[in-house]
Subunit: 510 residues, 4 copies
């Protein structure tokens, strides 16, 4: 029941001290993998418990993608891109644990997301969401304490200092199952449709419910939990935010896999069969909380309903931007992959190919440009946290999704029919079939057939047929209806002004 | 070497004679399955030979989809939709072996495609393509014989009479591997990039090469082969069209499966895990011809290069229409599924849902309306075959593709995030996980959780994440560049007239 | 009060009798102009009465466009396109007075609209709408008489025989001012928001109200009036349909002109200043009925509210198709004009020009193909009238509008900046300015500067900046919301079927 | 010939000195008008010389729009928005003469453009372009002097100090007639297709040629001229940049008016007939240089071809952003106007209206957000000038155009048919017609008919039918092909990187 204390000593060796005045809290990929192996997570997948995530076909590649980001922090070329100095500790930290202090800070995160997506073609969920929640929590706990005299700010800062010092991966838990979408939490017949406090003890609180579609949950050390929506006064039990280790007692994780990623479970499937062999597989879990205990020093909100809407409205734009920035990296890959496929097919010089690549780029940069605009038009809170502009964040997110579907369509268009019917490694290494494939699927005579096959599988992956990338762009970071809502709300605010302008120009007294 | 004769006696039992003056040549689904089992096809999948397609996870469901169309021919309600009277034999035949005689004939085929796709959510490739090739061949052989005195027309009619009498499924083999796309067949370094005659004997010809991306090849009794493009005078060996049984000696079939359909190979995966459990899995093969012998009575073109372009230009519009009509059925399913998901999620009454369904319908019917226009604007050849208009066929096909990607995007949008991360049957039947899923994934309280899960998987399938439907719309029936080519060519024809009109209106003497 | 009788003798000379067994009722353009001059219409424009429409700058060019269609009927090359045999009289008639008997009939009208728009770049409103109303009235009066024993059918046939014999131009009056759009006619505070019968006499009825946005009203001999919407039982006075001569006592016409056409009123403006010099100016009037008397033999509906919805729903799809077909002709001009401008600017060979023309053609033919589909999917009533399919008519109309805006945007894009800032004839004929313009605005050295200037003005006209063409596509033939309504209604009908299909495929018992 | 000196004393009264340490150089609108009247410009319009622009129907309203911006500088509420402190003089200046020093500076200009467009619905061309040229020139002259030892930087600074001190309106002259677009300046048969130095004297240079489509030229005090493109070494004569007063000897201006603005020339047309009565009429001239003399102190480039491309590439992104920012203001008006029209028509609450307004806003803000991103991603030169990012500037500009066409289409859609056929003041004030219009065109009973009519005319103007706003968005600030060019060029730069990423992910050694 006091697991929160020993944790503090659990990964001290991860703090790599280097000479000079700035201490570094940067794990390597290898250290990260070791630390994940150490976790005793109650994790299931395809009806079976996963004992070692490093060896499981569904989780192993996702771990590689996270490990890459740990390793890059030690790459001198990436130092400026993926590390920074903590405003809490003054130490050099991995950017994924950094809280934004100004526009450049935030844009650096966007650029990082785009860059990483280009390198691993994957979701960086295990570390991506929590930074945004933390940025929101730091500002909202500051505000709560100021108004209510609560001790949340210091508590949260202490927790986050630990995260930075130990260079932890922290999953961000936002989405509740929601039950009947036409009803508020307090109105649900199924009282467990939203996570809530079911008991309060001297040492902490007890929590019951579920969080769904949580990216990277099982491969993160910790979980940072918050409400999924603004709450009414009668919904105090649902106004709860806290942190727990991923292997906390009472927690059950159920790993997901969309149909394209089932293929990782096929005996004999291997190598390029997986499209994005090394890193692939979008990685998410459902999380069930069976009366999970959380000690007070990890509780950052417990009943303060009036601050829930603020918390949500602050971090949402952050998250919309961040989750749209990685999509831009994916589109970069789709553009690059389409160009390569055209080359491999022998049509690189065709006019329509050039036009299509250009149009893909236009649609893509339109989103990214708008994200930069959202960053620029942001604001700083009293607590010193920086948040992007809500309107442009939502407009950019909506376009990020449309541009990705467009890029996927173009990617299929340019790749050609093989993209949807590639052969397996078993076929290609078969003594009779292999040579036939080799012979008949050669196109551009300067390109080995094997390379064309590999690139086809990668394009299958990138276009969403062999992954869910494209679909995820519609749903990850909130569905489009949420963006339309914000756009609409913002419009309502300005509409009166626009209305007055036209009345004035038309010479009409209102 | 004389396999073409015994074939005649192979399926006599398939001819179901019924009382009355019109004989019926209609197999049942069961008879079709038996006949497929009898074939000795040299077929591989995932590096292993398939001995019994009825039991193989990749081929079995596709066989069900074809069997459905056999069975419907015996359903009185469907008699008018899926059967007709042969213009060759005067018998009642399955519509898939019918050759179009007029606009109503052709539209009936379009309506049938849409209807079937709504019923099985699958490709009907095993019987779909060949009818279009046959319609082209009947007209072109007629023309060839008239000009060159060749015996192809009667030969083809005799062959097709057999197909109708025995109610055979005939695969349509069009696409060659093509090698270096910037070169013509005769210019390829890899001489096997296009199928060709390598020897001519007294009894027939010998053929070498490959055909790729052939829908339904392994579950059809026969193969009807034709060139993939117009050929020059120096390419006589490539001007070849013929029919062979799918189990002809020298033929090797290699079955494909896109990444979503790998899941059929996962031990333990079952039931709703497959999305479209009963019929699913788009079914296609690569076909390798290792010096395959074809007797003369099954050869319909051998060297007449001047007729290849005509053949291609006649059947292409047919095929573009037909392959776009089934996409309309798929979009009907996406519209229906989106409506149901909205209902299951409890948001059926939201205004934006209604607008989205309406927009899906608009985009979809725009394509179908244009296909009907293509049918109406068609023409009849001397041989009595009816062909749709090329311009509107290509315009409708292009829109069919765009509308399907749009519908898929909307389908994901409306379904919600679960569509990309559903759980497996193993999870759902697990004693501890099952109840958790049941409890937390309930939404609309009037709908059993299980139904919501099933519909999610079906939507996963329909939106292309759990199948390749959406991608296939970009590539099946020729990639968009081909359509743009025709649209452009047609425009060039009319441009001079448009030009003259504006010069005239502007008062400019040219 | 008995003006309906002398009318019969008014234009006997128009009936041109030629040898042979088929009489011809075909005016020439010249005869048409004379007949328009004879009319004593109470017509105003820009605050002044128009005494002679042939000489008025706003009406004269529109008269030319109508005259062209009269003349073409005498052009042997056009005989098949613009004339046909009347199903009433057996005489050869102008196609604009023909009522559709089958799909080919209707498509011929569509092709004619497209062709004429290509020739005059104008609206053929003076004769366009009434044919559709008449087709609806013939079928609905037939139905009314059958059910209610009324004498409308024979009466209407007698009237329409006169129209055909005298080759009259008949305006179609549909749209009422509508007042408060949230209320039905009977609920309006302004009782004159919809046209209605205010008195019934022995010899006929008296009508009060207005019709707005009536294309070609002042340059037509007659007016055929009908309700703009389906009516309830309490709205008998509004259920009225009849015909009157355009110069009937009590009728006031107020001519409209959008801002671009104001230029026809500028002293000194001339020649190419008008863009479409010869025919231009979209021509429409507001019509005020100040207790207009209509004799019984010209009344075709008077109180039969239950048939109003049928009438509207029948002619609407006709009209949507017809008004979309002419837009296709306008887009042909935009495509042609864009090609010519590219040539004149010296960039005809640029790849992006080719792509843009191709995309314009795709969007355009998509609409036209769908209209053909609507025609094909039509139906014949008991009275022998043919009507196109409502769904495809509305889908095609919606796309016709979108495609025209797109073509206009491309037209401006390709023309270049001069399209929006051309000089006037006064400038060009000025001794000092003229040579400067001549010298500095030369582009392609093979093209006289003058031609480039003329084509720019025509493009200004065609792209909607110098006319309202593009805007008219959004509003003419009903605004888009009406089309969305029909698309939606049709979807509701099919949705249950689509729903059942997916439930079935997902294995869910409803 | 030494007119450049007396100029200095010409408008001393414009310098309004106020108490305090910062001097103000801010004219009022009235002072601006007086100063324009004083200019002796050789200006023609519709074949006649304009003697007094303040009274001419084409120029007067445009002068009002410029005067508004002068007056706002004296409005305390606008002080922060439209004035700033000069980095040259330290005085408070109008923002239109300010050169950008950092991102906030540049964004302030964007916000100002949007705001002003909302207030006058007009182009601010008379002062808009030159600020961007000047920003480019300050940086490039700095660079030239450093490399070549030329005296341009100080000269330009002295000139611009005068502009700031006298608060002048300076037109920006960029676009040459270009002649045959397939040839470079030096290759043209027509040697006057591009402006060039024809003589060099001791006191200055002599210039011949033309500049076209120059916004606000006749209502600006001065002209700042620069080459329209990068030039080769053999094109020294064309590498020329300088400033002259608009009434310099040898200069002829020919005013343009698109067809909608012809209406200002109609006798009797007045008031609301003009749509945007007070400010309307996009204002541009062709400028002919008949051997115009320019003294050395106003020459900022004369033969330095190597710096032409740099100059163009620096100011282009500035200008693309600025000219897209005003389009956003126009779209704000279209959104506001559409909302008001829906209200006036009585359908403000319809669901589809709300969706359409939201979609208009999305498309619009997508462009503005991207412009902000371009601003943020900019850079500072050694000279201290700030420039936005080229890629995002071009992407945002392209979208600005597409969004405006979309908004125009929606605006017509929502307004209804009257938008394209409004009546004139002559009609409305006519004793008989006026009351009919008043009576029949009432819609929402709470809104005076007159107001609905006024708003219709404004919407006619805003949607481009009654102005060229929408078309201008396609051509002003460079046609879309230029943007696609930049997007493409940028893509080429990044493509290699994207290519390497996919090769790496696919496991292919290049």
């Amino acid at each position: 029941m006091i697991w929160s204390l020993p944790q503090k000593n659990k990964y001290p060796e991860r703090i790599a001290l280097r000479g000079g005045c700035i201490r570094m809290s940067l794990m390597t990929g290898e250290q990260y993998k070791d630390s994940i192996k150490d976790l005793k997570i109650n994790l299931y997948c395809f009806g079976k418990k996963i004992e070692n995530q490093l060896e499981h076909p569904i989780t192993a590649p996702a771990i590689e993608a996270v490990a890459l980001a740990y390793d890059l922090a030690h790459d001198p070329e990436y130092e400026d891109k993926i590390t920074t100095i903590s405003h809490i500790t003054g130490d050099r930290i991995n950017y994924f644990t950094h809280l934004y202090r100004n526009v450049d800070d935030f844009v650096k995160r966007l650029d990082l997301m785009r860059d990483l997506a280009r390198r691993h073609g994957m979701c960086t969920g295990a570390r991506c969401v929590s930074g945004n929640i933390a940025n929101g929590l730091e500002s909202v706990t500051y505000q709560m304490d100021k108004k209510l005299g609560t001790p949340y700010y210091e508590r949260f800062r202490a927790y986050w200092e630990k995260v930075q010092r130990e260079d932890l991966s922290v999953g961000g838990y936002i989405t509740d199952p929601k039950g009947d979408r036409s009803k508020r939490p307090a109105e649900q017949t199924n009282s467990e449709a939203y996570i809530r406090i079911v008991d309060e003890k001297r040492e902490g609180i007890v929590v019951r419910g579920a969080k769904v579609l949580i990216s990277g949950a099982s491969i993160a050390h910790e979980a940072l939990v918050m409400p999924t929506r603004g709450l009414g006064e009668d919904e105090k039990a649902y106004a709860v935010s806290f942190a727990i280790p991923t292997d906390a007692p009472g927690l059950t994780l159920l790993h997901q896999f969309p149909s394209p990623d089932f293929r990782r479970l096929v005996p004999g499937a291997r190598g390029m069969d997986f499209g994005n062999e090394r890193y692939g597989v979008y990685n998410a879990c459902q999380i069930f909380f069976d009366d999970v205990f959380v000690p007070w020093d990890r509780v950052f909100m417990a009943g303060e309903t009036e601050f829930t809407a603020t918390l949500v409205s602050r971090l949402s734009p952050c998250f919309r931007c961040v989750t749209s920035a990685c999509k831009c990296g994916h589109r970069d890959l789709l553009i690059g992959g389409s160009a390569v496929m055209a080359e491999y097919n022998g049509v690189a010089k065709a006019g329509h190919i050039r036009e299509k690549l250009s149009e893909m780029s236009y649609e893509s940069e339109l989103s990214y440009g708008c994200l930069l605009g959202a960053a620029y038009r942001g604001f700083t809170t009293d607590s010193g946290n920086y948040f992007p502009n809500g309107l442009y964040a939502n407009v950019g997110k909506y376009q990020a999704m449309k541009a990705l579907w467009f890029a996927a369509r173009m990617g299929v268009d340019i790749s050609g029919g093989l993209v949807m019917s590639m052969h397996s490694m078993e076929d290609m290494e078969h003594p009779e079939l292999g040579p036939l494939i080799e012979k008949y699927f050669q196109a551009n005579p300067n390109i080995p057939t094997q390379n064309r096959m590999k690139m086809m599988r990668l394009m299958e992956y990138l276009t969403g047929i062999g992954n869910i990338l494209v679909a995820e762009s519609s749903q990850g970071g909130a569905p489009t209806a949420s963006q339309q809502l914000v756009i609409n709300a913002e419009l309502r605010k300005n509409l009166e002004q626009y209305r007055r302008c036209v009345l004035d120009l038309a010479g009409i007294d209102d």
